[in-house]
Amino acid sequence: MNGKLRLNPDQIRRARKAAARIAADVDTCIGKRTTVAVERTVLRLMGVDGVNLDGVPLPNVVVDRLLEKEGLSAGAATWVVNASLHYGLSPREVAEQTAAGSLDLVSVPRAGRESLLREGSRLAAGGLDRIAARRREREEKIARLGEGKKPYLYVIVATGDIYEDIVQGKSAARQGADIVAVIRSTGQSLIDYVPYGTTREGFGGTYATQENFRLMRQGLDEAGEEVGRYIRLCNYCSGLCMPEIAAMGAMERLDVMLNDALYGILFRDINMQRTLIDQAFSRMINGYAGIMINTGEDNYLTTADAVEAAHTVLASQFINEQFARMAGLPAEQMGLGHAFEMDPDLEDGFLMELAQAQMSREIFPNAPLKYMPPTKHMTGNIFKGHIQDAMFNLVGILTGQGVQLLGMMTEAMHTPHIHDRKLAIENARYIFHNARRLGEEIRFVPGGRVEKRAREVLDRAVGMLEEVESIGLFAALERGMLADVKRSRTGGKGLSGVLEKGEDYYNPFEIELRKRLGLGGREEGSAHESGLQTN
């Protein structure tokens, strides 16, 4: 069926094809490189954790040592697995001794390639089995407790103090939240390590650490048992530590991860090569862990105009879909982002928002779209803001979004207070329940404003994607085609953490993940041929 909007399937096909080529093009280029973050992730997946006496995380200590000794192009696994084999130590012990200075990785006698690969793949299997177990745990809990109806009610907590976050998260769960996201402190995405342990002092959010993940997970599991509904936990694997955080999330049974290289490039000025390499590996992990990713194209409308730039969001969704697909992440885990960000004082703006939300729904029928609330045009007028959020919620239920990121009336002031969240949840629950089946009851007039708006946005997205295809994504970013922000190929943070893979490069987790996800090798270049066809 071609839906309520009678979108042209040829245009959708053209868009997918262009996006697939764009993604494949990037992949070819990044396939030859690795990053310090990817290597630290490999270590973490092998069980390396903890900090040295100066508080530097062991994965950083080891990777920095290897960089210094010019051994990293072979992959951290090459050295650590080798030392493991040689001394009969666990990778973690190897890391600890490296940190203590009692072990020099590059001077350990080298085992034969075959035994290296055997041990590497044993460790990889063990690491991934642990993740698979957490995934099964989630599935069992959902089967036993059940879960909320879609659109899921997604709220953020962002006190800066993990213990306050737990109180706020549990309270939200009791009010009806389905997903609780812990926002990170400003600046974390730019630090090239993941802080360690419990943290109680962040700004605009709480540091993402594995211990914080564990504590929050435990809190939400408790609340979930009490309210009889599985409560999903969300965090952010964007920024310089993207794949590490993906791994930590997979190990601590997070359920949703913000994960988008484009966001980092445009909004955090992270180097594009760095973060695209990181993204590819992180998406495999997320995919395998059964974690839903959320992409960040909704943010484009905070810097660009929401009416003018709507097609850039759609174009980016198409690209993100292809990146995800190439990492083996199924459509059911693709929380592609879009947003309700038009000026509320626009005549008939609601019709355009409705058109666009319905359009996204029809173009990505199996993806649990992440729908973002009004933020840019929220003001200090909390009463008006609350009804802007209500209209957003109405579009959410009318068009069957997957994840409704709840707007808060205090958006223009502070990260949410405990009752802001309560009122936001109450808002969504009221609208969702009271207008539950409205979407089933209405049709749009053929040739009318709603249909026209959707067609126009799709056509412009196709045009843009084909242009990007012809110049390549990097050039498109350089020209500021997304979010009105220009970024250069070699600018931004983190480029120094990118390195060419050596001949002897070894990453047992990537190999094992590709196997388990049923992905071909990277070199095949087959991605050029066809895009993912979902309808």
Partner: protein, 254 residues
Amino acid sequence: MKVDFKRIKPYGDTMDDGAVQLSFSLPVPCGEEAREAARQLVAKMGMEEPQVYHMADLGEGYTYFIVYGKCTHTVDFSSIRIPKVETDRMDFYGINRFIRERIGRKVVVLGACTGTDAHTVGIDAIMNMKGYDGEYGLERYPGIEAWNLGSQVPNEELLAQAIERNADSLLVSQVVTQKGVHIANLTQLVELTEAEGLREKLILVCGGPRITHEMALELGFDAGFGPGSLAPDVASFIVRELARRREEKERTGS
């Protein structure tokens, strides 16, 4: 997050942050001076860092504000005690049994919206046969003779009816409260019953969305019922109070 119940404060996202939202209008023209006036006012309320987040011109020299501030006051929660209607609530069957066993005759109850108040939904909820929120009203109780006089009943007429029907209890509903009209009206009823020498005989009960038990006692009523009250709450109170008074009378032998 440990709470000091001797000194509780508002909470936004950090214990004791004092976060409070306010909104109000001031009779001053919109502008920076108005904003400052709003800040000063909120500061006088004991709020630190008052922040005017929204200011709107209402015209006619009035301005509206939405303000947040950090409250410095604390409350000793550990010492709070609430006066409640001190009756174990019985159910429909319990109440009727209590009447049979302890009173031995029908209890006569008159209800009305008095004065110019015409909001009958509340008193109907308590009295009507079909009841409210899953509870039958007093008219359904075999042990109770219930008369609902409806709306806009002058106090004088209510009292005349009480005498005529030999009522045990009067149920008065007051919903309109603007300019304290309910206070005046309820007070007048108490005065009238006293003037008629009926205060001892009658159990005076009032109710309504802005009525609390505490306020009812202050006005000279025997009980007050606020939002969410149901027939059994009221009936339990009336029959126990009736029994108590009769027994006390017997004891004092008057």
